[in-house]
Amino acid sequence: MPKDSGIGASSKRREDVRFLTGAGNYTDDINVRGQAYVHFLRSDIAHGRIKSVDTSAAEGMPGVVKIFTGKDFEGVGGIPCGWEVTDKHGAPMQEPPHPILAQGKVRHVGDPIAAVVADSLEQARDAAEAIDVDIEVLPAVMNMKAAAQDGATLVHDDLKNNICYDWQLGEADDAKVNEVFANAAHVTTLDLVNNRLVANPMEPRVAVAEYSRGTEDYTLYTTSQNPHVIRLLMCAFVLGLPEHKVRVVAPDVGGGFGTKIFHYAEEAFCTFAAKACNRPVKWSSSRSEAFMSDAHGRDHVSTIELALDADNNFVGLRTNTYANLGAYLSTFSSSVPTWLHGTLMAGNYKTPVIQVNVKAMFTNTVPVDAYRGAGRPEATYQLERVVDKAARELGVDPIALRRQNFITQFPYDTPVALTYDTGDYNGTMDKLEAAADLAGFAARRAESEAKGKLRGLGINCYIEACGIAPSNIVGMLGARAGLYDAATVRVNATGSISVMVGAHSHGQGHETAFPQVVADMIGIDESMIEIVHGDTSKIPFGMGTYGSRSLAVCGSAMVKATEKVIEKAKKIAAHLLEASEADIELKDGQFSVAGTDKSVAWGDVTLTAYVPHNYPLEVEPGLEETAFYDPANFTFPSGAYACEVEIDPETGQVSVEKFTAADDFGNIINPMIVDGQVHGGIGQGIGQALLENCAYDENGQLLSASFMDYAMPRADDLPFYAVDHSSQTPCTHNPLGVKGCGEAGAIGSPPAVVHAVLDAMNSGGKAVDQIDMPVSPSRVWAAMNG
């Protein structure tokens, strides 16, 4: 029986009402009295030396308040990188400065050169057109392998080369790895590209900053997934402001998918300019501007080799990847191709010897950072593609080959630094086989063929590491931040509760799901509990929402704080009931004395906490508790996906006919929301596989800078999805046994789609073992007719 409230119920989302009636409060909806508007003049050249920026003609134009150039920020810090990666020789990564406005050189199309603050946005734009910029064009560094060669043009003149780091994980002894491959019965090798993507949350980024001369306080409203992180980075590293004088608010945020984690120059600019201009300053990105200023995602070029013994056991895996970081280091960019990628190369398999090699490259492109999945989709795509290719080469069933190599004993220490606490990969695959009706595939293929179409079935498995992280571990790995989270449970006198959480909700439904947990623990109605998030002045601290961490980390902090509240409330109840605290039980919102009919209601205890007339003297009045929670390990969601496609052999057009996901997320708080998260991830994954590509030409011009040119998945590109979340091995180390579900769909689906396309092409008699994403009609047609 589905529950109708509390943990496990598909409670309808309370936030929906405001979104459905136009009453949301997104950052662009916020206007501050007296505000001015900023327009950034951005480089239309990918790489060049700035010879002069002449603002004189623009200065006197109508409405212009002030014009800023790189010179105005010479004494100001640059945008910091939050993770220092150590290369395989023990040296720190090369870390070039990232100024707020370009200094000396422009390094990508979209690099901001000047900023015009004016009374209206139109006036700011008009004046920006009158700025005369003289740039000496330099060759654009676009190809990663060429950029790694000695003598290549340098993106950053002060660095020794364009390689940010040359990193390795796993078996460090090359001879040992070579021996494994030399002795293998079969080696499968694959070269592939993980295409560059743009996250494109539907809400473009916005920043509004104000400064009070009276109190010397700043307030920044910004489209962020983690307002405390923005405040910390901006205050400590960029502007040198005291944290307690800066409030950062991330109100309703229209999607993030990673790209709103990072601290961006525009946020720091508006905050700086609000004081410099003595006026609030607002910036609203246009979509075209978003394409050239939001951090991009993926963009890996990899060679992967899988060694198998004579019985088809995986005995070795080696990868060599070039990872594009773009022109500057975005906030968490350095961690994505390394600790969020290399560590996942074991996947679901007990491969004993693994070596991961990554060269991270500077190029004249927009910075690249985390996008839904962040490193884990790149790992999954390489691993699963090579496993699928091996199955085809060996003529064995791809599911059987996977099952044969599944990890089945937990906890399991991988050769790439992780310890999986729990999982049931065979059980999850069983769920997939049933939910996807794999037994019926042959009949469906025959139906497609009768229509003149080719039909293919693609299978894929994934594991991801979520809930980042134990702070002591990530600290050793180079993280410059702790990655705990925090919650305050504030019980009001009348029994209602405000929970201030460090996680930020921008589509994930925290305002609905988090109260389900607290309601369950106390036994009161969900409607008595409200979640407060997104404002540094209201919440204790928070590292924010990314990496499918909100419930696993912040939810755990909320549970701990609620436990403290209950513990204190029991002391008060014991006093009221004249009983021993040890005998007090809490159920359905009633404190009772075990074995008696004596009880007192939740609301009576909370009122007593604030009107402490009849009260235990040793207990402080009030009922409010805070907890910080630092996890003991990552969580490890896993799953098995099946995709069926049809190809029109005349045109190469691919259509997804059936998509099934079986995931193990551990315990589930709100099944409706979890299913929705998986749907969305699959939609983005199919988008990556079939449609999306952020394209540059050889001169560094961004060819896909609007929704006219960047193929976002639309409703008629996608099917209904079947999702099954009944495989549940609860996380062993957090109080709710939850694992995280936000990224799974985007990680698990791209390989499934490509496998299905390859299967369909091969079913048509064309032996094709490689095709790159996006699997466009022209690529399919070329592969089939090449």
């Binding site: 459905l20 009636t21 539907m202 229209g254 979509r287 929705g676 609007s706 929704f707 409703a715 769909g745």
Partner: protein
């Protein structure tokens, strides 16, 4: 500056606008009706869809001056008279047809226009009609399902909630 007058959700409004002021800008900045969202600058995303004389129009692609004298409907005017969610809005909540909410006003306005012309659209007709409305959160599954439910169709057999 030119004065424009129009009816928005049944109320007469007017304001002075520049020639280049878009209808979306007039609604958001002049009238402070921020329910209508702007998600792109190429008339692709559909977050800004409103009704102009009963037709679904992308308000970022129409000058405010062009709407002079028109009857405009926005997301703020969609709920029932008593403030409760209308059938489409309720179906979106019931079937989790929204996540971040940014595309939602456009989705609701487009759905209203679709169902006016086609009260019982098929799945394929819905997907085709929504080509001009982008959503990045839902993968469209629950949006399509919500629209089918809003048009009185049984959605209980559609793969997974």
């Amino acid at each position: 500056m030119t004065q424009v007058s129009m009816t928005v959700n049944g109320k007469p409004v007017s304001g002075d606008v520049e020639g280049r002021t878009l209808l979306s800008g007039f609604l958001r900045e002049h009238l402070s009706m921020t329910g209508t969202h702007v998600g792109c600058d190429t008339a692709q995303c559909g977050a800004c869809v409103v009704h102009v004389n009963g037709e679904a129009i992308k308000s970022c692609n129409m000058l405010a001056m062009e709407a002079d004298g028109a009857d405009i409907g926005t997301i703020e005017g969609q709920a029932n008279a008593d403030g409760s969610l209308n059938v489409i809005q309720q179906a979106f909540q019931d079937h989790h047809g929204l996540q971040c909410g940014f595309c939602t006003p456009g989705m609701v306005m487009s759905t209203a226009a679709l169902l006016k012309d086609n009260p019982r659209p098929t799945e394929a007709e819905i997907r085709k009609y929504l080509e001009g409305n982008l959503c990045r959160c839902t993968g469209y599954h629950n949006i399509v399902k919500a629209i089918m439910a809003a048009s009185g169709q049984d959605v209980s057999q559609i793969a997974a909630e």
